[in-house]
Structure formats: C-alpha cells, structure tokens
C-alpha cells in the first residue's frame, strides 16, 4: 500500500519537476541558426545576427578543396595520399623554376624546409568533389600547401559531372604542352648540338692524332 501512494507522489513530483524545466527552456536563448540569413563563415560574422551560443566555422574548416596551381609542383603526393582516389593528376616536364609567394619570398618545402622547386607542370588536376570525403589527408601531405580546404561548403550542381573540379583549363593545358614540346625540342636540339659537337671534337682529335 505504501508503494501505491509512493507511486502517485513520485509521479506527480517528477512530472512537476520536468514541466518546470521544459517551461524554463521557453525563456532561454534559442540555438537555431537561421542559416541563409546568418553568415556562419566565422565566429565574428555569426555574432552579427545570431543570439545563440553556437560557434561559426573555424579557420581550419575542411570544406571543398582548392588548389593553388602556382604552388603546385605536380609531385602527386596528394594523389597517393588520397584513400579514395578522388584526385587525378597528369603532368609533363617543364621549366625548372623556384616557387615564390606573391611578395617574392621563396616557398619552403613543408617537410624538408628547403626551397621548393618546380620541374614539372600539371596538365590535368581533377578533384571529384562528389567522391571526396573531406578527410584532409591530401592537405596534410602536400609539401608546398598548394592543395588546401576552403571554408566553402555549398556545392549544388546540376549533374555529377559538374562536381568534378577541373583546376587546369584547356588553354593552360595547351600552353603547357606547347611549352613542354618547345622545351623538349630545345633539349633535343641541345642534345643534338652536343652530340654533333662531341662528334666534331672526336673527329678533330682523330685528325690531330693523324
């Protein structure tokens, strides 16, 4: 019999307790972020229109990948690091250039701390954003920080094909290929000249001997 009345009492008191909490919640800040109106891209911008206590996106947010081709050395490390093969890179041999930032300071290789050197040019750099799982392994593997995650996450496209991000345009590819063939031709010419010279010298030596 005691348990019977205890049940009634507990039922009422705990329901009373619960109701006080759900009632109280009505008067405390609402956490909903009204997304398109509120700019969530950073802690500073989210505070403009939003009264709740959630944070904006952090600086290191892993959004859609972006590639800075001027820094890319076409080393293909990101392609190898990617666990799901969503990065495809083709490259050709090209000018040997030392990489520099916009202000002219040299870019250092992240791992060796030596000046990064560009010997090849990418002719194809495709990232399949539909396949990408935004794990960040490519970003961590890149020696020159050419590939990195942006804060961008809105990625509505009409077809899957458009979700493949192509960073090297056909023009650039054509220019690069042209330049590569020039270099190749130059190299071939040089080689031929060198060979010719060597031959001539050989002939000369022969002549001198005779």
């Amino acid at each position: 019999m005691g348990a019977y009345f205890q049940n009634i009492k507990d039922g009422f008191t705990t329901a009373f307790e619960g109701m006080s909490i759900s009632f109280a919640t009505m008067f405390v800040r609402k956490e909903t972020v009204q997304y398109p109106e509120v700019d969530i891209s950073s802690n500073a911008t989210i505070a403009e229109k939003y009264k709740g206590s959630l944070m904006g996106m952090p600086e290191n947010y892993r959004g859609i990948l972006d590639v800075d081709l001027s820094l890319c050395t076409a080393c293909q490390i990101c392609q190898k690091a990617c666990p799901i093969d969503c990065i495809v890179i083709d490259n050709i041999k090209c000018d040997k250039t030392k990489l520099s930032d916009g202000d002219g300071s040299p870019v250092l290789n992240r791992f060796t701390q030596k000046e990064a050197l560009k010997t090849r040019t990418v002719t194809r750099f495709d990232i399949n954003a539909a396949k990408c799982m935004y794990c960040g392994l490519c970003e961590k593997a890149c020696p020159t920080s050419a590939i990195r995650h942006t804060n961008q996450f809105e990625m509505n496209r009409e077809s899957q094909e458009e979700l493949i991000l192509r960073f090297v345009s056909d023009d650039v590819k054509a220019t690069a290929e042209k330049r590569a063939s020039e270099i190749e031709a130059e190299a071939a010419a040089k080689k031929a000249a060198k060979a010719k010279k060597a031959q001539e010298e050989k002939a000369k030596e022969k002549g001198a001997e005779e």
């Binding site: 705990t14 329901a15 909490i21 959630l54 290191n60 947010y61 892993r62 690091a81 794990c135």
Partner: protein
C-alpha cells in the same frame, strides 16, 4: 460448439525502416498480440565492407574509414586504430605526452557526445522528444569544440598514427573548461527532466534483466556489461594512453530502480559515465604539458611482419582492432570487434515475453548503432 477460432502468432517485420531502429536494423518478431514470443534480429543492412577496404588502402589512408565505423564516436575509433598500428610498429613510447593528453581530451569529449546521443535516443524512443533535443543541443557544443580542433564536425580524422594531426587552437582549452562548467549543471537538469521521471523509470526498471553471468556468457562489453554490475573497464583494467595517470571511477549497475542489470541500470551507467568523463577532461586540462603533438612518422609506413590486437574503451564498449601485417604498405587483414554486435546478439534472449514497447526500450538501453554493428 467447440471453438472454431484458431489463434496464431503474428509475424511482424520491425525495420529496416522503423522509427526506433535508428539506422537500419531489422527484427522479425513473432508476437502474441503485443507480447513478443520470438525476436530474430537481422543484421547487415549497413554493411559497407570496411574491413575489406582496409586491405587496399594505406595504413594512414584507413584512418578516415575508422571515422565511418562508428560515426557517433569517430574520435574513439580513430584512437583505437591508431594505437593498434603504433603497437604494431613498436612506437608506443615515442608518442609525445601532449599528443596523448589531446587524444584523451578529444576522445572523452566524444564519449560524452556519444552517450548524450545514446541517452537522448532512448528517451525519444520512450516518447519524450524534448530531452533528446536538449541533449542534441549540448552535443552541438561538443561538435563545435571538436570542429575547432580539427575542422570537421562528425568524421574528424584528427588522431593520426604518431600523435594528432595538428595542435589544439589556443582558445580550445579555455572553451572546453567553460563548456564543462555549463554542461555539468545542464546534464543534471536534463536528468531531472527525464531520467528521474517516474513514468520513465517504470518503463525501464525491471525490463530485460541481464544477470551478471548472462552478460559474461553473451560477451557484453562496455556500459552494457557494467550495467549488469561487473566492474570492467579497459581504461582501468588494461590502461592505455595516459589513463593510468588519471583518477576516475567506473560506474556500475546496482539495481537502482529494481533488478540488477535491467534497462534502467544500463541507462544510468551511461549517465554516470558522462560525469566521469567530465572529471577526466578536467584533470587533463590541468595536466596537459606543452610540446610536440606528433612523433616523426614516414609518409609511407610499412609495419614489420606480425599481428596485433589492441582494445580500447569506446562508448559502446571494448572495441578491438586486429591487424595483420605482411610488411606491406597496407594491412593484409584487419578485423574490428565492436560492442554493438554483442549487444545485438543478446536481444533474442532478453526480448522473449516482453511487450513490443519494451523491445524499443531494450534497443535504446543497449545503445546499438547500426554502422558499428555491420561495419
């Protein structure tokens, strides 16, 4: 006239698309009206072949996949795998101290958020939606913190072989401390809202009792095992990382509202583990040293030939990673042992003779997560 009416069991298909089998789990129920006579769990609807995938990706490349093994507590999965690989490579001692502490902080934060989801989902299955949303609101803060640390909200890929990918941002520690002060009070408030509610207690108490012996026989792990009153926690009994330096208790079931090992015990063990995790994180915030966060690891690792089995305590219990290496760039065989699977295996036994509504309570109290179950 003798009765021409014949009775037969009602076969009901519960799932894979049923509101209370979160994710895709299926039960084939044979019921006598509302009372379950036989319950046959059907697993495999979320099988993605992650263990097979491991054989074709690099050792580091598999870390993002461990996020997907159990996306409710991805940090803990990351930790289990990375520590297993480290053990295989024999570099456990090389991990910087700061990295170890960061690992413990983030995985305990993730444990809190996982338990919050587990408890909240159990509440929601009992028909109380508000506590679930309150728990999700608090979990959102944890997600914010972890996002701050690693840039992703759910599939973190933060812990890597040899440490953690990057150091914590400067404001992380102070923000975490502030969150814990907030959460400690609020979680108690949510408990007052639901966990101590008489209707809720009556729904969970004395339902699906798992006696200690049965729990061991069925190989239950984690909070489900401790709910049956067995004091076993990998963090305490086989300490890894820096857990041996930390002071915390292991909550066990004690028949709070009825019988030892009922749904309510399992539920309350999780509630109390949240408090213990808060305690652990507070100690870590105090003790965390400065220094490096990653040991030097080659970009392509080839662990020596051999095999290793490493267990850690994830929110769903003792998770073990078995790795077999042939000295190549990818594992030759990888096997994951998870807590949800053993939890699922006990359901036919304890769901006999209970109401359909109780089966929902059982699923909620065992905290079964479909992706972890099927992998």
């Amino acid at each position: 006239m003798t009765s021409a009416l014949k009775t037969e069991y009602l076969t009901i298909n519960m799932g894979p698309q049923h509101p209370s089998t979160h994710g895709v789990i299926r039960f084939i129920l044979k019921t006598d009206g509302e009372i379950i006579y036989e319950c046959d769990p059907d697993v495999g609807y979320l099988h993605r072949g992650i263990e097979k995938i491991a054989e074709s990706v690099t050792w580091q490349g598999f870390v993002p996949y461990t996020d997907r093994v159990d996306y409710v507590c991805a940090m803990n999965s990351n930790l289990s795998y990375c520590m297993a690989v480290e053990k295989l490579m024999g570099m456990e001692t090389e991990i910087p101290k700061r990295a170890e502490y960061i690992r413990v902080i983030v995985s305990e934060l993730n444990r809190i958020s996982s338990h919050a989801v587990a408890i909240g989902a159990a509440d929601m299955d009992m028909g109380a939606f508000t506590p679930f949303v309150h728990f999700l609101r608090e979990r959102e803060h944890i997600n914010d913190l972890l996002e701050m640390a690693c840039g992703a909200r759910l599939t973190y890929n933060y812990i890597c072989i040899g440490g953690v990918h990057n150091d914590l941002p400067p404001a992380f520690l102070s923000k975490t401390a502030e969150f814990l002060d907030h959460f400690e009070i609020v979680v108690e408030q949510i408990n007052r809202l639901i966990s101590y509610n008489q209707i809720f207690i009556k729904r969970f108490a004395n339902v699906a009792v798992v006696p200690p012996k049965m729990a061991i026989d069925y190989n239950l792990v984690g909070p489900n095992l401790r709910g049956s009153g067995i004091k076993f926690d990998v963090r305490k009994d086989k300490p890894y990382s820096v857990y041996s330096d930390l002071d915390f208790d292991i909550p066990i079931g004690s028949g709070r509202a009825g019988t030892l090992g009922d749904c309510y015990d399992r539920y309350m063990v999780r509630v109390e583990e949240i408090r213990e995790s808060i305690k652990i994180i507070r100690q870590c915030l105090k003790q965390i040293p400065a220094g490096e966060t990653k040991a030097i690891v080659k970009s392509t690792i080839k662990p020596p030939k051999g095999h290793v089995y490493f267990r850690t305590e994830t929110p769903r219990g003792d998770t073990g990673y078995f790795l077999y290496s042939d000295g190549k760039t990818s594992p030759t065989r990888l096997k994951i042992r998870t807590g949800s699977f053993t939890g699922m295996s006990i359901i036919p036994e304890i769901a006999r003779g209970v109401f359909i509504a109780d089966l929902v309570a059982i699923i909620g109290s065992l905290d079964i997560v479909a992706p972890e179950l099927d992998r």
